[in-house]
């Protein structure tokens, strides 16, 4: 085993002298090993420096900044002051409630819909390529273009959506202008823009289900729903559970759509998410310490969530 894991670096210069698989057996082994290691580190150095500067060090700094304050260019330790200030911010719980609301709507609409669409597309024997391209088209728009376009559709004075509702004799909505509907309007726009990628991923998973399973279910006299419940969903469970985790973690960090569609806060702070609040602290109020402290809260919540989630899904895999 060791022979395959230890790099056998024969540079051109040395090739003539020692060109056998057992070079390590020669007396020059140690220095050769050092040289090989140095060479390997040469390949690593670019990425390591970038990780160091833009990932590892900021990670440590996130913790440090949460307990520091910078006033008139002087940085000092302030203990729990930042965490305390953020926690007692009158909008702290509003932001969490809004974030949970966004994630919840995104689960009901944004998670279920692509799976449903994928099942339908998988059944159709015609127009498959056309429908697939259609679903994926919005993903290719710049996200801000999609957001601004929906903002135009949502306008209560001249927007397309209220016009459609009116034509169908349905009650009209204030969409983004009302604190009751602003968040769900953002989620609807976000789903339209991004459901294409999830749909294609589910579609690929559905196509990997062995047809024999459905045939066996047919022989047992299973109906359509029972086939979906007992064959389709269990067979795609790995993908579904992974996508669910990724989606929740992503929607808990929502910023762009809320910012573009609802100007961040939204009516009566109804769309202010945690990440928007971080942005506000850091780059509107210029209070980077408190922004970092709020980030720490978010980090703890997301790590706790991912930990519990992976444990639960691992247990259910063992049961299944």
């Amino acid at each position: 085993m060791a022979a395959t894991t230890v790099p056998e670096n024969t540079t051109k210069r040395h090739a003539g002298r020692q060109a056998g698989p057992d070079r390590r057996a020669t007396g020059r082994g140690p220095s050769r090993k050092v040289a090989a290691n140095l060479q390997a580190y040469g390949f690593l150095v670019g990425a390591v420096l970038c990780f160091l500067a833009f990932s590892w060090y900021p990670m440590v700094r996130e913790f440090i900044m949460s307990f520091q304050e910078k006033k008139r260019g002087v940085t000092s330790w302030v203990g729990m002051k930042n965490l305390d200030r953020v926690y007692h911010d009158p909008f702290f719980w509003t932001a969490w409630k809004n974030t949970a609301e966004y994630t919840g709507y995104a689960l009901v609409i944004g998670f279920a819909l692509p799976f449903f669409v994928a099942i339908i597309l998988n059944e159709l024997r015609h127009a498959q390529a056309y429908l697939r391209i259609l679903v994926y088209l919005p993903v290719m728009l710049p996200p801000v273009a999609g957001g601004l376009l929906f903002k135009y559709f949502y306008d209560p004075d001249y927007g397309l959506f209220d016009h459609i509702l009116k034509t169908l004799h349905l009650p009209q909505s204030q969409w983004l202008d009302s604190s009751h509907t602003a968040m769900i309007s953002v989620v609807l726009a976000a789903t339209w823009m991004s459901m294409g990628s999830a749909t294609l991923i589910y579609l690929a998973a559905l196509q990997n289900i062995p047809g024999e399973l459905y045939e066996a279910a047919d022989l047992d006299g299973a109906g359509l729903w029972s086939k979906i419940w007992h064959v389709t969903i269990p067979q795609t469970r790995m993908v579904l559970s992974l996508m669910l985790l990724l989606q929740i973690v992503a929607t808990m960090q929502e910023f762009t759509n809320v910012f573009v569609l609802a100007g961040g806060n939204g009516p009566e702070n109804s769309t202010m998410t945690v990440v928007y609040m971080i942005y506000q602290y850091g780059f509107r109020y210029n209070n980077l310490g408190s922004a970092a402290a709020l980030g720490l809260f978010l980090l703890l919540v997301l790590i706790a969530f991912s930990g519990v989630y992976t444990r639960l899904s691992r247990n259910s895999d063992q049961d299944g």
Binding site: P21, N37, G46, A47, A53, Q207, T256, Y279
Partner: protein, 298 residues
Amino acid sequence: MAATLSSPQTRTLISTATLSRRKGRITYRIVLTLVVVVFTLVFLGPLYWMVTGGFKSASEVVANPPTYIPKHPKPGNYHTAWTQLKLARLLFNTLYYAFGALAFQLVFDVAAAYAVSKLRPVFGNIILAGMLATLMIPSAVLIVPQYVTVLDLPLLHFNLIGTPWAIWLPTVANGFNIFLLKRFFDSIPNDLMHAAAIDGAGPLRTLWSIILPMSRPILGVVSIFAVVNVWKDFLWPMLVEPDPKNQPINLGINSLSQGVPENVIIAALAISAIPTLLIFLLFQRNIMSGLTAGGLKG
């Protein structure tokens, strides 16, 4: 296997036999028509509204009830949008950032993944674990300390704000790239490395002439992700590129749209959508298979 011979499609929820019955055929036709019509309306409708909205006059675009076809098409809106929102500049910036980021990621991340997978230096596994651990950290949490770091790079004390480096370099610190590349390199037999070594090839030569040509599929996936990520990013470029002149299109359109008439904004949105929609329609097969391959196994 007789069933698969009669139909080109693998067996799905509904059997071919059910579909070939009269009732099944009619239901299928109805569902198919419904799906095609609804999908066209939902996904193509907004795009139609965007393109035609760009042709409407300032009063027509905000008219209630709205018009389905522009009454007096004004192609001039597109010209106004192009010049007033400096779209050429924004599109150039986007390409510059996206392909710069792609180049840095391909060089540094491929080299690093190659080192931890094939060259295996001492502590290589610890470095790899450190890189993969960053996948656990939500990116929004790191925005603030990253911003402070870019403002004053440790030890070197460079301020990268407003330079393309602030967008390019952080993209290299991408644990997912390392994961994808390393796993692919692991699947390449070490015997090939030995054979190359016996022929006198150094590690760089081996990477270039043996590993990379075999890794085209994964390089494609990483490249698509690299370009798409830069192109979709919003908050980070907003912080590090405060000057609208230097912003990528996804951000610049939002920054520059203040005080611009609605019809010109919509024309600008339509223009901003054209390049990627074109690329997508040309390469849709590769893009769609690449995205599902990368996403599925992640």
